[in-house]
């Protein structure tokens, strides 16, 4: 498992070991997949602390369900499906919380989870104009329909294949591609409108 070993075990090998009770093997699986799981959660909830919590929950749940993993798909795909379900649950509870506390919404009535919960001090070193522009685009991304936004962020992260995204979202690959293209089209249309005004 460590770098001193000549052959690195595959995810499946580690899963077999973990199914036999080897928690160190599962720890290695956590190490390998923590970033992918975290970013999937972040794409859904838009907040790093929440995403970190979701990722942790995902791994604990995966360990408990490990006996049910039949290797019909890659371990990472299976893991990402769990992460996405947990992230959506978290997002729902966050939206409920925001609505309960009367947080302002956008004109279309959608709640700006990303804008409300994202770290506010991220842009301090950037050029002001570029920062404004990026802030604007981020705000536009936040106002996209959720299905389009999820597909755009997951695809834009570069961490997942279209097949993995399709598995997470429960839609065919073609639908994922269409959603990404549609999200981009809407964003460009809005950006052109802003630039033109």
């Amino acid at each position: 498992v460590t770098g001193s070993e000549p052959v690195e075990l595959s995810d499946l090998d580690l899963v077999r070991l973990a199914q036999g009770g080897d928690t160190n093997a599962f720890g290695e699986l956590v190490e390998r997949n923590r970033r992918a799981v975290f970013r999937a959660a972040l794409a859904a909830v838009g907040n790093a602390a929440e995403a970190d919590d979701v990722a942790q929950e995902t791994f604990v749940t995966a360990f408990r369900k490990l006996d049910g993993f039949r290797a019909e798909s890659a371990f990472r795909t299976w893991l990402l499906s769990i992460a996405w379900r947990k992230a959506l649950d978290r997002r729902k509870s966050m939206v409920r919380w925001i609505r309960r506390h009367d947080t302002p919404t956008f004109d279309d009535g959608s709640v700006d989870v990303f804008e409300r919960l994202a770290s506010p001090n991220r842009l301090q070193d950037e050029d002001l104009a570029a920062a404004d522009q990026q802030r604007l685009v981020r705000r536009m991304i936040a106002t996209l329909p959720r299905k389009l936004r999820d597909a755009l962020l997951l695809a834009g992260s570069g961490d997942y294949t279209y097949e993995q995204i399709g598995s997470m979202l429960g839609v065919p690959v073609g639908t994922v591609k269409w959603r990404v293209a549609e999200a981009r089209r809407l964003l460009k249309m809005k950006l052109r409108g802003v630039k033109g005004s």
């Binding site: 975290f38 972040l42 990722a55 942790q56 991220r122 981020r138 460009k188």
Partner: protein, 188 residues
């Protein structure tokens, strides 16, 4: 702005949204939780949901059972007495004719041992038939008897004599000659 420039702006924004990293020590935190056997956050909520759902099922199920029991009691109370078991101390519903005569008082048409529900009877009517169906309370111990079994049904094959085919004569139909008379109104 050109299309590729817009693409670049969008890509930058997407990267910015997802640029955060997980807190260090994820592996240790996960393994610690696994070792502690701490329940998953969602499972506790699920346990509550299951408990509440189970309670609801019990309440509804209990209500249905009580309702069915009461329905059965009512059916048993109004059923003909012939369908009841012979030896029983069940308080049967009372049906009797009341001669109110001149007493002018409301008739209580119940069996002696059975507290019947009050029936309103007009004193102005000299003679009337009052039918009061007494629904005994559940505590009275109404026994619902099984239906009287049907008598045996015997099925026997139909009996028929043998048919002698040679005795059957087959011949063409004989018709009487047809006579056609002219109608009286027709000219000759």
């Amino acid at each position: 702005m050109r299309d590729d420039e817009l693409d670049e702006v969008i890509d930058d924004a997407v990267r910015a949204v997802l640029e955060a990293a997980p807190r260090p020590g994820m592996r240790q935190r996960v393994l610690r939780r696994i070792a502690e056997g701490e329940p998953v956050r969602g499972s506790r909520r699920l346990s509550w949901a299951v408990a509440v759902a189970s309670l609801a099922v019990c309440v509804v199920g209990g209500a249905v059972i009580v309702e069915r029991q009461q329905s059965a009691d009512r059916i048993a109370a109004v059923a003909p007495s012939s369908s009841r078991p012979a030896a029983t101390d069940i308080a049967l519903p009372a049906i009797e004719t009341v001669q109110a005569a001149d007493r002018g008082e409301a008739a209580s048409a119940a069996a002696p041992d059975t507290p019947a529900r009050p029936s309103h009877v007009s004193p102005a009517t000299p003679e009337r038939l009052v039918s009061v169906t007494s629904l005994p309370d559940v505590d009275d111990g109404v026994i619902v008897a099984p239906l009287t079994p049907l008598s045996d049904i015997h099925i026997t094959p139909l009996r028929s004599g043998r048919v002698d085919l040679s005795a059957i004569e087959v011949a063409p139909l004989r018709l009487d000659p047809v006579r056609i008379d002219a109608l009286p109104s027709m000219p000759h």
